[in-house]
Symmetry: D2
Subunit: 332 residues, 4 copies
């Protein structure tokens, strides 16, 4: 499987490094419009061709698959060209700038029998893999909520607000973990510096009384990456900044009994052991790219395919609409 | 100054204990409809009269001031009776179940020349006192946001939802700290057990691009009491669960310069020292009750008076309206 | 069972409070040479007699048992008098100022058929109870070490050094948890202010390659109460300052295999789940005093009896000897 | 300046990476007896010669300086050969297996007018640089103690015990920070698995009542890297595992006044602000290697020279002697 990578800025080097060390993969070319980036790429991988022109990769008949690791507003064009040239595409999140673009690309890929994978790397972290297992096994019981805080100082993006920058992580994780159907979204937020919102909050109403909330912020003095997920049987805290024991499962719960009248209801709190399952040390991006190669070889459709990426874009669109009204309920 | 206390459940004993040890205060009577509560009160303070009937206190000609430490839905009636009998009133937060009640009580107190103080205890904690000083001195610069997370397991209230239970803390603190004017509120949330929302989120839009957010939750496996407050010059984290160094001030900031076009803007991040000011060890409730006694003696109007309590109730009403629509923008 | 308490300073009030609320116990009298202490005692418990003279309690024919909650150097005299007057004695740790005193008191108690309990409160904390269970059940496997850090700012004691002040906690816990025999002690330390050591370190060599270490310090800017206990099968961390999950058990270990030559040995690290058992919320001192009353009623010998207290004193003596030589090995 | 590096195992790659990117430095050759290591080196740096034979580097007339990044027991031979061939030497800590070797190498280097630098990397971390400044400026006042805990699970070394593996970090830092003279050492410890001590404790007595203590352990379930340093005026905690604010300075202290008799002494505790100075993000090894190159160019003697490395070895020897007697006082 022969690869080209478009974009060698912040994230591209990680993709190239993983592809370089992967069985059955050959890294042929790297494209970046920035000369300094090309120079860095060449120094690190003298054997790989570098070019300023993405079309060189896209049109190359040697290349089977292309990774698009560029700003969001370029995803649609580059992915479209690549698909048209018969390339499979691994594209950064968020998939596209709007859902119409996403739908068109999905349709094009289907027609050409090509695979799109959207890089929702977090789905391949040992933490999310473990949480997903716990939920599927029923360890948490019926889900109550997903509440994530993802804040730090910067990095301010120039073309998108903090919601489009940071919330895709949580939206993709949520969609992966929660079986209930997302129904409506409310988003609020404020920009203070460059016009784009730098702090934003998003509530997603699901069926079955499941609710999700996402707090994203580029203006926080401290970095926080904490997600609370509670269910009827157990509750968990995922603190991604913990060096070990990122996921802690609490055998805690609340039961309301003897509900004969609102003032007679008895609330029972259960508080048992806490348990932090051992997590593998695997690098998520390596797992994801291996899975991409596997899917291409086997013809299997990845679960983080274009449709999955599109769902996230639709949620971001709904959030943007709500945000523009300073917080109205927008149905999905 | 002679006091009676109505309600000796969870919080009442703290009020009684503080009044018992206060210079110039005499604790005369405790009322509680619950016999076990009265028994506990009598055992702890044999010299204080106990009664099942709040009217005994309210009508007593010996008593100057009454503390109303009962469920929210009883505040209006008890406060009204006490004011009518010429008593000053120290009443639990939230002040009343709705703003009409609050307005009526304020008007009544004014007419009778009596003082209402609403027990927003947090305003008297060393942390809030210090944060207030820092903001007033300009240490933080122009405020950007207030973002608070106040979650834990329980205690489920029977008569109110989690917003009415926990958000009054943040609403009163916010109103105390933020000079800008609150303009509109969006609230979302979900109930899972007894009909009332057990998890809720609230955004408050202020003038001058200040935004506040409150995350309250009775279904969290862990207790979190963390507030981020950022300004143009500095940012702070108030973690009320830290035994020491509850307030940490970060000399961090972001500056956008050279804004000639959206892609040329330069974002400068500043990251300097962190500093945790020493905080007094004073008990907030003691400070507050002393202040109440001072206000009564001097005839001064407390800053946490009825009007201050009413502002919080109006915000809760707006939040309830928003919540009932699953998150629409409600103007204040 | 009728009690008198001698000493109403820092710890005495906790003992009185617990005895006041205990079934089958009557608190008759409190002795303290300090008038302010007596005043506080009287205010809190008007029904209890207060006296400046410990002999009043000791000689009272009404009193069955005496709690000695005074500085270490007074323990011997007061306990001896009490035993001579036929009283059971609950005495603060450390038991006595030297082992000769302890031996005499034990012998006297035996002769008079009276019970001595030494107040090693930590043995009754839910944490130590749980750790003891885990070790007895074999969860940790063969023990490797016990390593405790117990540091904070102050409280400087006037009559004893930091080792006699803080190490008795760990020594009693260690003796309770470790089955192997303590064989020898090395202690080092330094005084900086009042002549007594304010920082000290103690190593205890046990049989079977078990080793214990205690780090105590009155000059630490932060409070630390962390104990590591490792065994062949599992390891645990007890952090007494954690509000929840004070005890965390790690399924971690090291195995050395294939030891054919020093450079060919293979070290295998095992790293599995972490688990924090739920702990009861019981107040340790209440549990201990109940147990004392039980022992008196049933004639059972408490496990934290005079002999147990004497073992701690002997270790402190050995440590003092080692410390005076700046760290020689002293056999027990 | 042309470099060769001997040893490309765990630490060698970091040295090579830094030298590759350093102005005025040319990396010519890497030696390692392990074929897999050589293969990795070649893959990462195809332009650098690799060899199985360290003598190839040492005898090369092109090479000016050699980095010896091999097990301790090989340091003496390799460094000696390199010095004899006129090479400057950058050698891993601990410098040598015993002090006689160290003395011989220092003498040889002096005779040949060559420079030895011992790789005590921690001295170049932003944390130690800052702490050193704080102490030199008098911020802490007269020093009281240095107390370090450096524990984790593994890595078991085959040729040395935990003291020789982990304590050199603290010994070099201590020697760098503390002006008083180290006078005597007491070490205790125990081995449980492969004969070498896997847990050990070391007290170092200095002049002027300064005391240091080092707790090292390969059998800890959790990683701890915490050092307390207290002085008369201020105290600090250095937690090397904190992502930010590694160094926290506490404006805390104790003063003993009015010392007319042991029971009348007054202990005053002062507790003021905490302050975490901003630290640079510089990579310590890069700083150290730049400094090495600077010293070679300028002919300046590095402060972490052979003599500095020898002081650490002498302390380790004294500790080993004490350890072999299970903890006697050994004078330096």
């Amino acid at each position: 499987m022969k690869f080209g990578v478009i974009g060698y800025g912040y994230w591209g080097p990680n993709i190239v490094r993983n592809l370089m060390n992967m069985e059955g993969v050959e890294m042929l070319a790297i494209a970046d419009t920035n000369a300094a980036a090309r120079k860095r790429a060449h120094k690190a991988y003298p054997s790989v061709t570098t070019t300023s022109n993405a079309s060189d990769l896209i049109n190359s008949t040697e290349i089977d698959a292309v990774a698009v690791v560029t700003p969001v507003w370029t995803h649609y064009d580059l992915t479209k060209q690549a698909l048209e040239q018969g390339k499979h595409v691994f594209v950064e999140k968020p998939f596209t700038s709007n859902s119409a673009q996403g739908e068109e690309l999905i349709e094009l890929a289907e027609r050409k029998n090509l695979t799109i994978m959207v890089d929702h790397t977090f789905l391949f972290t040992p933490s999310v893999v473990k949480i997903s297992e716990l939920i599927k096994e029923g360890t948490l019981g019926k889900l109550y909520y997903y509440d994530s805080t993802r804040v730090n100082l910067g990095l301010f993006q120039h073309d998108i607000n903090v919601l489009w920058d940071l919330a895709p992580h949580d939206l993709s994780i949520m969609n992966h973990l929660i079986e209930a159907t997302p129904e409506a979204i409310v988003a609020t937020g404020q920009g203070h510096l460059n016009g784009h919102e730098d702090i934003a909050f998003m509530t997603i109403y699901f069926s079955d009384k499941v609710i999700a909330h996402i707090n994203v912020n580029w203006l926080s003095p401290v970095k926080i990456r904490t997600t609370l997920i509670s269910g009827e049987k157990r509750m968990l805290v995922w603190n991604d900044l913990e060096p070990d024991e990122k996921v802690r499962v609490y055998d805690k719960g609340v039961k309301i009994t003897n509900r004969e009248g609102v003032y007679d209801l008895l609330v029972n709190y259960r508080s048992g052991d806490m348990w932090a399952p051992h997590l593998d040390q695997a690098e998520a991006l390596h797992q994801e790219l291996s899975y991409f190669v596997d899917c291409l070889s086997s013809g299997r459709q990845p679960f983080n395919d274009g449709s999955s990426g599109l769902r996230v874009v639709k949620m971001l669109e709904a959030a943007s609409e709500s945000l523009s009204k300073r917080g109205s309920l927008v149905y999905l």
